[in-house]
């Protein structure tokens, strides 16, 4: 097994210390940093995503794999010249104002991060204004908006209206999710996409950027 295979395997096993040690060893022996990321760390995480989808891996294991991924990425990143660090894009996510339900939204954040997105997690009870401001500040590609209640989901159109009035609607895609939502509701309020769960959220985000 090559050292890159071992790194990928370490990510699959969710062993952060092992991945960090192997990454150091690879760097010391002159493996190109980008090679470590693409053919070791990200390759392993890709397999994790597939195994989660087929039911061979479970959520906490995926999260530990994500942490192992970032244990390696953290070591490689400083060695890359600016801009060469691969990122799929930036997503600003949060639970809409008046709603404190955030476990599902946090899951989406962790899964997006694990798959290579930069995630800005605004937490819960986030006003439409804060969503749009954060999108501006972080030069975001996506806003991910979550709601658990029918009484709070009705604020989601405000996020979209605000993006329009700020002239950002063409630049920032909006994806929504949460128990009372549906593809039909997404279409009705003019959101770009709906995802029923965190795995699908990653697929949807990949399509949007």
């Amino acid at each position: 097994m090559s050292i890159l295979d071992e790194i990928a395997q370490g990510v699959i096993e969710g062993e952060a210390t092992k991945v960090a040690d192997l990454t150091k060893k690879a760097l010391d022996t002159g493996v190109p940093p980008l090679d470590i990321i693409n053919n070791g760390l990200v390759l392993g995480m890709g397999k994790v995503g597939e195994m989660f989808k087929t039911g061979e891996m479970f959520l906490p294991e995926v999260i530990f794999s994500g942490d192992a991924l970032y244990a390696g990425v953290g070591l490689v990143k400083p060695l890359l010249t600016d801009g060469s660090m691969p990122s799929k894009g930036t997503a600003v996510i949060g639970t809409i104002k008046g709603d404190l339900h955030d476990i599902g939204k946090n899951l989406v954040g962790m899964m997006l991060e694990s798959s290579g997105f930069t995630v800005v997690n605004l937490g819960a009870d986030v006003s439409p204004e804060s969503f749009v401001q954060a999108a501006k500040d972080n030069n975001a590609d996506i806003i991910g908006c979550s709601a658990m209640l029918t009484t709070t989901m009705i604020l989601m159109p405000d996020v979209i209206k605000l993006l329009e009035s700020e002239g950002l609607r063409n630049k920032v895609k909006v994806m929504i999710g949460g128990a009372p939502l549906s593809p039909e509701y997404a279409a009705k309020i003019g959101a770009d996409s709906y995802a029923p769960d965190s795995t699908t959220a990653v697929e949807v985000a990949n399509e949007l950027v």
Binding site: G14, F58, L59, P60, E61, I63, F64, D67, L100, D102, I103, N106, L107, M110, A124, P196, D197, T200
Partner: protein, 490 residues
Amino acid sequence: MKSQFVKSRYEANEAVQFNVLSDNQCEEIFHSAMEVLRRTGSKVYDPDSRDLLKKGGAFVDGEVVKFPSALIEWAVRTAPSRVVLCDRNGKAKLFLEGKNVYFGPGPSNNFVLDPFTGERREPTTEDTVRAAKCCDYLPNIDYAMDMGTVRNVNLTLSDVYSFEALLTNTTKPIVHWGFDIPQYQDILEMCIAVAGSLEELQKNPFIAMYSEPLPPLRHSREAIAKAVFVAEKGLPLIYTPCTMAGATTPATMAGTIVLQVAESLVGLVAAQLKREGTPFIMGGLISIMDMSSTILSYGAPELALLSAGMSNVAQYMKIPVFSTGGCTDAKTLDAQAAIQGAMSILMAAQSGASLVHDCGYIEYGSTSSTEMLVMDDEIIGMVKRIMRGVEVNDETLAVDVIDSVGPGGHFLRTQHTRNYFKKETWYPSLIDRKVYEGWRAEGNKTMGARIKEKTQMIINEHNPEKLPEATLNSIKAIIQRAEQREAAQV
């Protein structure tokens, strides 16, 4: 917060079991069963067995045998409180003791529901092969039975042929039956061909043989003779009456259990007199007659209740029990089948019945269904999780973890969750817990459709461990001899 001191509940709170009967009630039922056998006695149609009972101290008057209570109490004490059943390779698998519970199918149905065609038809040896494969594959089915009396062979050797199909297609322990002593001899020889010798088979038995008396209070020549035969060979014996409250026993639950226990006791005494210490498992099927349709119900709430009561009495007597669960009166694998199967399995597990049989029975036992067996396997998985209970200690109370996560945090990223989520949680293989879109993406399949797919997959793809060629040839030769014997009798 956890107590500083050890409290009794920290020592003994893992039980999810319940008792239908108190120890005092069990004693009353046991005493009543002994009184029935003392006062009324039983008809025993086998002269050799009557002689055996007479020599042991029973009173014989014609065909009626009456039992002194001391003789019964001696037999109860003599029977072991635990019976261990092994797999075909001699490895101990089932420990019938305490409140351990194991599940398996049932025997000798008149029809099978074909999992490929949906047809209800007479069983063939190919169906026994299918049943054996399913038992072998399914993780929560602990032993095998034939699931149908096969009709495509010499009918007087149906039991021998179905045993061959079981023996050659699963390594799991087998519970089987036979028509009469010659067939028992054939079956025993096949077991010896696998084990190497009778002594090896006695040391690590992979078979338990059962026979059934005819309630109320009748023991046919074959039933009692077969029980005595198994005892003589020193192998595990199941004596299992099949009672119908209101018809072959009183309509009351207590009276039905009294008679059920009394029937088993006759087999127990005969077996212990033949060979002291015979591994004995008392039975068996205990339910009501539906006074509207006249069926013996395999899904009545009373089946679960009576079985639990019988199990409690068996536990009081310290004798393992052959109980019933996972069966239904439904004619097909529908919502009724799921309701009746699930309820009886849960009750059987909670009552600590040792050997629960008749998983896979539909149509009040008249028909068997491998699909029902596959569904039961999933139900048993859920029930086994419940039976593991709630483990309470410092580590599982997790106060430190709760503190480290704090208000509004989540537990998904903690090492504690990583360590425990799999151990503490049951995951389904058939029950659907996908999100709606995931379920749609896989074709909107109902539970029934998923069960059918899995059943067909097992039958088409599962390859059980094979017996060595030489053993297979010995088994074939035993069947040939049996055929010659039967031909000579015509």
